[in-house]
């Protein structure tokens, strides 16, 4: 159950931890290059630059995918595939591209593939994942109130339609402009805004209903 799992904050990983596996050129880079500059370098053959992009973004991408899928091991697989595709399709990265938007665009494709496969094959669910956040039935008592609140919110998120969850998570956390979100979701800017707000309202309703049920 939740209490048994240590909560590990997703802070950016301390640089010391990576020195062994990261190429020296990246670690010693004099000035910090932008994501876009790094991805252009990857495209032009400096593959090590993807290591820096991985360090900058994988934690956040994983967190997003974990909330989107409600399944840690799936989120880990999808994160892996996203970076794999960045390597494979690096030649398609555009001069006028936005790296973050591209990353979430790839993530969306990979997540869709994942769902397609998961729907085709009988679901093999890792019980650890369920305990992680999917089933957090509210338990009264000793658990910290904040924990319960997180659990309720996870449950509420899980009950949203996937499209609503997606637009909400993209809009609120990923530091993307609505222009970029609309590009990722392939809809208009106005539609993306409306969908994000509608999703927030739905989440609010679910969340407050669950809180009320827990209080009763």
């Amino acid at each position: 159950m939740i209490a048994a799992l240590p909560e590990i904050p997703v802070a950016p990983v301390p640089a010391v931890r990576n020195v062994g596996s990261r190429p020296a050129a990246v670690v010693n880079a004099p000035a910090q290059r932008s994501d876009h500059a790094l991805m252009l370098a990857v495209r032009d053959g400096e593959l090590d630059a993807l290591g820096e992009l991985f360090e900058r973004h994988h934690g956040r991408l994983f967190g997003y995918l974990a909330k989107l899928t409600g399944d840690r091991s799936a989120a880990e697989d999808i994160t892996q595939i996203v970076f794999q595709r960045m390597l494979k399709y690096r030649h398609t990265y555009r001069d006028d591209g936005s790296f973050t938007a591209w990353m979430y665009h790839l993530a969306r494709r990979c997540a869709t593939d994942h769902y397609r496969k998961a729907n085709a094959a009988p679901q093999a669910t890792d019980p650890a994942d369920l305990h992680d956040h999917a089933d957090e039935a509210p338990h009264a008592g000793h658990r910290a109130a904040a924990r319960d609140d997180h659990a309720l919110l996870h449950t509420a998120l899980a009950r949203l339609d996937r499209d609503d969850r997606e637009v909400l998570l993209l809009a609120r956390f990923q530091e993307l402009s609505f222009a970029e979100i609309s590009g990722i979701l392939e809809c208009s800017v106005g539609a993306a805004k409306v969908r994000a707000h509608r999703a927030l309202r739905q989440l609010r309703d679910l969340y407050f209903r669950l809180q009320q049920e827990a209080a009763d």
Binding site: H58, G59, F62, H197, R204
Partner: protein, 279 residues
Amino acid sequence: MNCQRAREVFPELLDARTAATAHLDARTHLAGCPDCQRDFATLSRTADALGALPDPAPSPRLRRNFYALLEEEKNSAASVRATVERSRRTSVWRWILAPLAGAALVAGGFFAGQRVAAPAAGYSPALAQTDAASRRELEDLRRKVDTMGQLVGYSLLQQQQRPTNDRLRGVLTSALRADENPDDRVINELISALALDPSVNVRLRALDGLFPHADREVVRAGVLASLPREENPIVQVSMIDFLATARDAEARPALEKLVLNEGADASVRTAARRALAQL
């Protein structure tokens, strides 16, 4: 301002990036309307709670796998770098040489005393005409090949040659999948079918499936590698058409070889000649 109009502005008021600016009307309404205040407060609490939700951390496996993958890709990239460099040089020279060649033709025409008006973009009109003509002929050939391919496909289905048809179905499925999800496994299936399948029809269909992905290096390289071993003129012409459409400069030596090969089918040599003019 009424409640509905005010609530339409809530998304902006809830977004830290836009909350500070303007929306004075909505804020004034909010200050005096308990209903909207309740609505706004609960939305705001939900948004805050969502923001406070801790992100789980991935296992160390993710980083390990990523760097293993990166190493693997670096090794394979190093082995093809020579080829890529060569193709880059070729295309750079093409950009430099093409206008020069155009200019030389114009200058030549001028000195020969022909009264040719200098074309705006430095292109010789004669070249442009050849280009358009060869494009037309290529399209024509492609149509013919398509028709032939359909006939072959039809007769094969009529004969109920099961093994071939099964392979054909496989290729058609791959082609469909490649369209919506061009991952390398599917692309590889199509390239292998093109290179190895004994049936003309299967090979033609595989090539069709690869057409939408002609912009990818691996696809062009696959088609180019299959060209010398291909013996059927229909498939040969299709492959040549493919490489010409993709403007693959790497194909030049293989095409030149075909043009000079007296044993090759006349239509194949013609197609190769046209393609060379187009590259």
